[in-house]
Symmetry: C2
Subunit: 187 residues, 2 copies
Amino acid sequence: MKIVLASKSPRRKELLGLLDLEFQIITADIDETMDSALPVTDEVARISYQKAAAVASGLSDDAVIISADTIVELDGILMGKPKDKTDAARMLKSLSGRNHNVHTAVTVLTKEKSISKTVTTKVHFRKLTDKEISDYINTGEPMDKAGAYGIQGRASKFVSGIEGDYFNVVGLPVCTLSLMLKEFDIN
Amino acid sequence: MKIVLASKSPRRKELLGLLDLEFQIITADIDETMDSALPVTDEVARISYQKAAAVASGLSDDAVIISADTIVELDGILMGKPKDKTDAARMLKSLSGRNHNVHTAVTVLTKEKSISKTVTTKVHFRKLTDKEISDYINTGEPMDKAGAYGIQGRASKFVSGIEGDYFNVVGLPVCTLSLMLKEFDIN
């Protein structure tokens, strides 16, 4: 059996490492555009599934592929990775002093079956000053992250609390994934 | 101005590093015994304060000392670091499938004033099997941690969700501390 992580994210690599599994990373580019007319929890699961399916064809029959996709949602408005610094500032300004949801879908796919689950965590940001936002953007940290922040990095000081799985906000719901892997007899 | 972290914990060192401050580590041993007749949120603040006060006398007048103390509480029963493997197994078994509270007090102390705040986070553990508990203990990870687990390590898969500040469970409430430091004109 060969475990494959279909994600470029260094955070997901680190979190999967917490499960003490040996795995390799194989990724493929897919169209990550979501249909905003459909429920976000379904769309994030569809994108996660497609990331796994896109690498499956080149792999041996005993491969177990793990993939995930994360999106930030504020009052029904979706936030992926920011396009540029202006976009990052716009996102962080809208998150300031409010609650938002982080949806991460995780997929486990083998030749026989596939399971995708979406986990949602509520995140509360304290009020941010314009200077805090511009200082944070100048660190470069927001640019490759959904919603323009990394809770595990310098944005830790912006988050007064969460409700749900912290690791889901980082990009991989570790507890949910560990239970899904049991369904595939992986411990 | 010289910032001092009065803690031996490598996790607290890493979390304070997220605030982009330069600091050094100076610690002193104190009696960390809590009085179970007093409110735990007060006792953890008292221990945290004493950790800071114990190193203050040897430092220059411009020193800013940061310290913290963390305790796990399950239905009024307090859990510090486990004494041995048997004690760790007892703690993890009692946490399995239930909610508990993690209280961390953080102190900022200067020559002029001192502020201590206690932050509480509710943590939910999924049901653990005996094998999961013994496998986890055999990694050695539980032994230096309150409640016998590290949420940021291999126990991540045991935690289905939290309510409150994640970093408070790791050992330092980063958001609260960042606001306290503003009161000392440290940004």
